[in-house]
């Protein structure tokens, strides 16, 4: 039987997979090997750095939405000329303009002026930049629109709305109009933008509007998640309703929903609901990043 490397033992130790004999071997290795000692310091530190944090669920939803938007926008992007050819054409165009300008000045008897400096930086064709543009700044349909992309009325209207809107407020056609052309994707993107700007109340209005107007859109899941996170501290019952709706829909966001339900139920003192949600989470998503925390919490609760 081949001897297991000490650093492998260390990794398996972090996963709680060692036998007693292996534990003893690992302890000896840590005493005598700088390599193993170093790794025994590095791994826990990295685990701390990559642990699940509050807000990770929303962060993950944003990453997914951004990646999907980037993939979609690239798939629909018009074919561009190769960079070298484009650059040559731009240089030729600039030269033609410069010559035309100088000729005009000479013909008009004026002194030649310095041509304006060309932009120093070419637009970088970077995937994340594209995605950021779509996700953080403007929805795809609004990118090409001249500023202001948001109708001024929308800002005024949204600013006047209370940060915590009532759930029962029905969607109004006028409200939808004010917000713009508003496909589900655009609403979602704009709501995310507002949230990032710290205008969470306005974002919540758009999230709710999206849920009302497009109950079967594919953005519904991340929207419920974002809305539930926003409501979680101030209106936990409404947040719970969103999490429950999200959980009942199944899918990969069910893990986030179950985690949210357990958090709220714990805060509300409803231990049975919290326990049920944690149990479901552990059973259905044993590899979820929440599972480790859920296990620790379940263990803690059992004592």
């Amino acid at each position: 039987m081949s001897q297991i490397e000490p650093t492998d033992l260390l990794i398996r130790c972090r996963r709680e997979q060692l036998t007693l004999d292996e534990q003893r071997r690992l302890s000896e290795s840590i005493e005598v090997s700088l390599e193993v000692r170093l790794m025994s310091q590095i791994l826990p530190e990295l685990e701390r750095e990559s642990r699940v944090r509050p807000g990770d669920d929303v962060l993950l939803a944003r990453i997914n939405a951004g990646a999907l938007a980037a993939i979609r926008s690239r798939a629909s992007a018009p074919v561009r000329l190769p960079i070298k050819r484009r650059t040559v054409m731009l240089l030729v165009a600039a030269a033609v303009l410069l010559i035309a300008g100088l000729a005009g000045a000479w013909l008009g008897g004026a002194l030649p002026r310095r041509a304006p400096e060309p932009a120093s930086e070419r637009a970088r064709p970077k995937v994340v930049d594209n995605a950021k543009q779509v996700v953080k700044q403007r929805p795809p349909a609004l990118v090409a629109a001249p500023e202001p992309a948001e109708p001024p009325g929308a800002v005024v209207s949204l600013d006047s709305i209370e940060p915590l809107p009532t759930a029962s407020a029905p969607p109004r056609a006028a409200e939808a109009k004010l917000i713009g052309p508003g496909t589900a994707s655009e609403l979602f993107t704009r709501a995310n933008l507002l949230r990032r700007q710290g205008r969470a109340g306005e974002a919540a209005v758009l999230y709710e509007l999206l849920l009302d107007l497009y109950p079967s859109a594919r953005e519904v899941g991340p929207t419920r998640l974002a809305l539930a996170k926003f409501l979680q501290t101030k209106q936990p019952e409404r947040a719970l309703a969103q999490y429950r709706a999200l959980a009942s829909g199944g899918g990969a966001l069910r893990a986030e929903a179950l985690w949210g339900i357990s958090e709220i139920a714990t805060n509300l003192g409803d231990r049975s609901v919290a326990k049920q949600a944690l149990g479901d989470l552990l059973r259905e998503f044993p590899d979820s990043p929440y599972a480790e925390v859920a296990r620790a919490r379940a263990l803690h609760d059992s004592h």
Binding site: I11, R37, Q41, L46, E47, I63, G66, L68, P289
Partner: protein, 190 residues
């Protein structure tokens, strides 16, 4: 595998499900490679997710989809880290970057200094070593995969991985011995 095939064939629902499944892993990889409190975590994770989707065409099911995603994310995040370091170096900010990394999250108690320096050394080595060694070191020491898992993820024989790791870990030890911040740790072992 059916999900991956569906995503490659343009099934948007499959793609969304797949992304939702792997992005927690991607986020974990990114945090380990560039640092948990790095301001670009979200952007790099998004870049990794896009790269993962682009790479799906090459997925043959030889490893699990999570391992495949981890490898793509690792490479993308390491590239992002090298880009950032190069940009900071060009602007004369390398020392700030190192200070950021050493500081980690919040104030560091003395007990954590050695582990943070160790993490910093491992990350720096991953930037500096030849690509196969760097990848093996990152998968083993940074992401915490066992050697056989590293072999499976890289599609390389176990002995090859063992050899790459031997060289990489020797370099890590040499760097640690030369670093004055780890003097106490090194002297304890002597």
């Amino acid at each position: 595998m059916p999900l991956a095939r569906g995503a490659v064939d343009g099934d948007v629902a499959a793609l969304r499900t797949l992304l939702t499944t792997v992005t927690p892993n991607i986020l974990r990889v990114v945090r380990r490679v560039i640092g948990g409190s790095h301001p670009d975590v979200e952007d790099v994770a998004q870049e990794c997710a896009v790269e993962f989707v682009n790479a799906l065409k090459r997925f043959r099911g030889e490893s699990s989809i999570r391992h495949f995603a981890a490898r793509v994310a690792l490479r993308t995040a390491m590239n992002a880290r090298r880009r950032q370091r190069a940009a900071k170096r060009n602007h004369g900010l390398a020392h700030e970057l190192e200070a950021d990394e050493a500081a980690g999250e919040g104030a560091a108690p003395d007990a954590l200094v050695a582990s943070r320096v160790g993490v910093q050394l491992a990350r720096e080595l991953c930037d500096a070593l030849p690509a196969p060694q760097a990848e093996a070191l990152a998968l083993h020491c940074v992401l915490g995969y066992t050697m056989s898992e590293v072999a499976s993820i890289c599609g390389a024989p176990l002995e090859t991985v063992r050899s790459r790791l031997r060289s990489a870990k020797a370099a890590l030890v040499a760097h640690a011995q030369a670093d004055p911040r780890l003097r106490d740790l090194v002297e304890e072992m002597a």
